[in-house]
């Protein structure tokens, strides 16, 4: 490791500006603080935030209160390996715990594949500081100078060979933690930077410490949380966007034994049955008639955008790049492409429908739920209950998938309101149908790309315009959304929109148009929709240049993107690209991307078309990825495979349509995700780039999957797929 950059010291205000999270709104509203809504936890870790992360327990074991939330990505495991490396302990002697919001200072929400990329260094530094603190304590105890002591497994060795264990440094069974004064010394050297020692855990395949609990059904998710005196709620949610609760006819539910409360909450726009047992609560669902109305009407609900009108009026809000002269005519119109590409609305479809338990008293509230930002959940609940933030404690649970969809948790907010009204802990469990209608969505994208190449296959110009909705700011409250939209170009919408190629005459414009559908983070934000358009158009340019698609990409990559060129060459080798011999109705396609300007991915797909069964099958995916230093190759591979399968799924199957202000898809029969029998053979190569720090992994390999598949379809059929998802029927239409 040669990267010695210090902990990020970004001021909060600057960070807000950087992430586009409503800096404008904050300025405008600074004179009326009490109106400020709760905000997500967007600040990167500061030095003092980490004082409590790592603790030496009286047993001599290390406890790591991990400031990242687990949803299956395994980041907590990787960070635990880093702590273990700096403290020289093995996996049996370190426990990773999920902190409650009163255990640690606020930490950044778990999004954007940042858990290892952003946190590995702060975590390593705090572990090394604790190590050096323990060394000083051991030296005092042995009446030696700290430098006389040799660090050894879970302790130190003095020059005479005697061992001073960590355990022996614990006084009066009080856990050892760092204090503010321990931060006054310069940061110690990190083993992480010289991972040569035989006790380094970097690159080891640690398994998740809870893996046995998971495979035996003992792992607790928020749906499994239960207390003896708990009440159970069935919640009625708005059945369409902008629906306002008008009235409830409780029917037969009124006089049933076991009913604690029948709640009509007009202010918070939901109704609920609260009962002393879960069977009554759920069985009465159909006995109740809930009246919803849409006083403002339903507008701005779109399943897709049409970019053509914006092209004609030249109307785009934001310009990402403008250089050279994009109107430079191609020397030959045969060397120009002009194309449209579209992706639909998607949902997260994690397997666990959200759930929460809340216990609210007159002065405090406790919440058990899964969330990517437990402090945001805390602050939102505090506002609902008119509590101070420190009166609310959130106990985060492992999530059954999140994928951006669990930044906050409305089930927790509902449970908190119902618990206050009922005077008991209350459980709220969403149904699958609730998930489909009441979560936020990935917005649709519509692209227009006009580009041309010279006779030797060099890209001369590239005009890319696209439309979608704001994603990162998608969930800002409506009373400040107008201000946000006036000043902020949503960087989530434009993620991955700048192609990695060397283009002289270059213009990228977009508009992020707020809709009345709830929009928010979804795996990779704009990166997959944007890459589908870019890498499809690049394939078109390779075709009109009569160049091999990989060679065309390599030819047009600038020197600064040499790492992307490397993964392209690697995936070429891995897939035997140069000697590929597709049979009739088979094809190979390639696509690549750089995620967040960091992680380089190249993918080759092989598809087969069966005219008898009328099926398109993705038979193989080859993927080469450079994510810098890999902390845990087993878990990184899991993330790459997960992204590839997700990418196959959105390419062939997933789409939400809205009609009359509601999602027409309500369960896995009409919103299908890829099944086992549709899963391709997947071949992965991680490039070993030890001199680069760990880079984002959790969303990186998703972006190029779709275009690799549709480019393979083109190779097999000469038919260009311009809208996702697609199936055999699209290929069979005569054009």
């Amino acid at each position: 490791m040669t990267n010695n950059k210090p902990l990020k010291q970004v001021s909060r205000r600057k960070f807000l500006v950087n992430t586009g999270w409503a800096a404008a709104g904050i300025t405008l509203l600074s004179s009326c603080q009490s109106l400020l809504p709760a905000f997500p936890s967007t600040s990167s870790p500061e030095l003092e935030d980490g004082l409590l992360w790592i603790q030496l327990m009286p047993s001599g074991e290390v406890q790591f209160l991990c400031p990242r939330m687990e949803m299956g990505q395994g980041a907590a495991v990787g960070l635990t390996q880093i702590v273990a490396t700096e403290l020289k302990v093995d996996q049996a002697h370190i426990q990773c715990q999920t902190p409650s919001t009163n255990d640690l200072p606020r930490f950044k929400l778990t999004v954007g594949s940042e858990s290892i990329a952003v946190f590995h260094r702060p975590v390593a530094i705090m572990a090394a500081r604790l190590r050096e603190y323990l060394r000083r304590e051991a030296a005092l105890k042995a009446d030696l100078h700290p430098s006389d002591l040799k660090h050894s497994n879970a302790g130190f060795i003095s020059p005479d060979g005697s061992v001073i264990s960590y355990e022996s440094l614990v006084i009066n069974t009080v856990p050892v933690i760092l204090g503010n004064k321990d931060l006054e010394t310069p940061a110690p050297a990190l083993y992480f930077d010289t991972p040569t020692s035989d006790t380094s855990q970097i690159g080891k395949k640690w398994k998740h410490p809870n893996i046995q609990a998971i495979v035996t059904g003992q792992m607790t998710y928020s749906r499994d949380v239960k207390f003896p005196d708990m009440a159970f709620a069935t919640v009625f949610h708005p059945p369409f966007f902008n629906a306002k609760l008008m009235d409830v006819n409780w029917g037969g539910a009124k006089d049933k034994p076991g009913i604690i409360n029948l709640i009509k909450d007009l202010e918070n726009n939901f109704a609920a049955i609260v009962a002393d047992n879960p069977f009554i609560a759920s069985s009465l669902r159909n006995d109740v008639e809930v009246l919803w109305q849409s006083p403002d009407g339903i507008k701005n609900v779109t399943s897709n955008f049409d970019i053509q009108a914006h092209i004609e009026t030249d109307d785009f809000e934001h310009e990402l790049i403008s250089k050279g002269n994009v109107d430079t005519p191609a020397t030959d119109s045969r060397n120009t492409i002009e194309s449209g590409y579209e992706t639909p609305v998607y949902t997260h479809a994690g397997l666990e429908p959200r759930s929460a338990v809340a216990s609210v008293s007159g002065t405090s509230a406790e919440i058990w739920c899964g969330s990517q930002d437990p402090f945001f959940v805390r602050d939102r609940v505090a506002r609902l209950l008119d509590f101070d933030e420190d009166q609310v404690v959130v106990h985060p649970q492992r999530m059954g998938g999140a994928f951006g969809g669990r930044v906050f948790c409305r089930a927790a907010e509902e449970a908190a309101i119902l618990s206050r009204k009922s005077g008991l802990p209350v459980r709220v469990q969403w149904s699958r149908e609730d998930e489909f209608q009441n979560s936020y969505f990935q917005p649709p994208f519509s692209h227009h790309i006009k580009a041309s190449v010279s006779h030797d296959g060099t890209i001369i110009n590239w005009q890319h315009d696209f439309l979608s909705a704001p994603i990162i700011t998608g969930q800002v409250p409506s009373n400040i959304a107008w201000a946000v939209d006036m000043f902020v170009a949503d960087k989530g919408t434009s993620r991955g929109a700048i192609s990695p190629y060397n283009i002289t005459n270059h213009r990228i414009r977009y508009s992020d148009i707020r809709q009345d559908i709830p929009v928010g983070a979804w795996r990779g934000l704009g990166s997959a929709p944007n890459n589908f358009a870019i890498e499809s158009a690049i394939d078109e340019l390779a075709e009109i240049s009569q160049k091999d698609p990989i060679q065309f990409r390599l030819q047009n990559l600038p020197a600064k993107n040499a790492r992307l060129a490397s993964v392209l060459r690697e995936v070429s080798t891995l897939s035997n690209w140069d000697s590929r011999a597709p049979a009739e109705n088979e094809g190979y396609g390639v696509a690549c991307s750089i995620y967040k300007n960091e992680t380089c991915v190249a993918i080759v797909a092989k598809i087969k078309i069966d005219h008898q069964t009328e099926d398109v099958t993705i038979s193989d995916i080859w993927c080469a990825q450079d994510n810098g230093t890999t902390i845990n190759p087993d878990l990184v591979e899991n993330q790459v495979v997960g992204n590839i399968i997700w990418g196959c799924s959105i390419t062939l199957k997933e789409r939400i349509n809205f009609e009359a202000g509601r999602s027409m898809q309500t369960n896995f029969d009409d919103y299908e995700i890829l099944r086992h029998n549709e899963c391709p053979n997947i071949h992965i190569k991680l490039l070993a780039t030890k001199d680069t720090p760990p880079l984002p992994v959790g969303e990186a390999a998703l972006a190029p999957v779709s275009a690799s598949i549709t480019n393979a379809v083109y190779a097999a059929t000469k038919r260009r797929i311009r809208q996702l998802p697609f199936d055999y029927d699209v290929l069979s239409i005569d054009t």
């Binding site: 299956g72 395994g74 893996i211 035996t216 492992r398 994928f403 699958r432 992204n643 029969d669 086992h676």
Partner: protein, 157 residues
């Protein structure tokens, strides 16, 4: 009389219309069986009914009569009481789970498959496991772990 994990279970009359998944989770506190969709579409709630895989969200208690139900908590090593079921061992060896939520259902489908077919091919695995959705993308490792549990070599499709 209903047997769940080899224990006789009496069903209160008022719960006769309750789906098995809810009875397991909320009456018996056997929360290893997961709720995913409520319509038999995702497989998260898979249990064994008389040795075959079944979706417990689609079974109502009054229809189960004398069935013998096994849940993830009742899965046992046939030879030793102090060891996990070989399929669970294989799941750990191949590090299958990501979020883990669908895995009890996956494991119940896999164990039912191996009872019927101790040496399944890739195609047979695909067919038997396609009712169990995984959003994290663990299908390749599931396939590998089933081969491992079957004592055979994992191989490509």
């Amino acid at each position: 009389m209903l047997y769940i994990n080899d224990k006789q279970v009496e069903i209160p009359d008022e719960l006769s219309d309750t789906p098995l998944v809810q009875f397991l989770r909320d009456y018996l506190d056997l929360t290893g069986t997961k709720f995913g969709c409520g319509k038999g579409l995702c497989g998260a709630c898979t249990v064994h009914v008389n040795g075959s895989a079944a979706r417990s969200c689609q079974l109502v208690l009054k229809d189960l009569a004398t069935a013998r139900i096994t849940t993830i908590e009742g899965l046992k090593n046939p030879d030793r009481t102090d060891a996990l079921h070989p399929v669970q061992d294989a799941w750990i060896k191949e590090a299958v789970p990501q979020c883990g939520y669908c895995q009890p259902g996956q494991i119940m489908s896999a164990t039912a498959l191996l009872i019927e077919n101790p040496q399944p091919t890739d195609a047979e695995i695909s067919e038997a496991m396609s009712g169990n959705l995984c959003r994290c993308g663990t299908y390749p490792r599931i396939r590998k772990a089933i081969h491992t549990a079957a004592g055979g070599q994992a191989h490509d499709k």
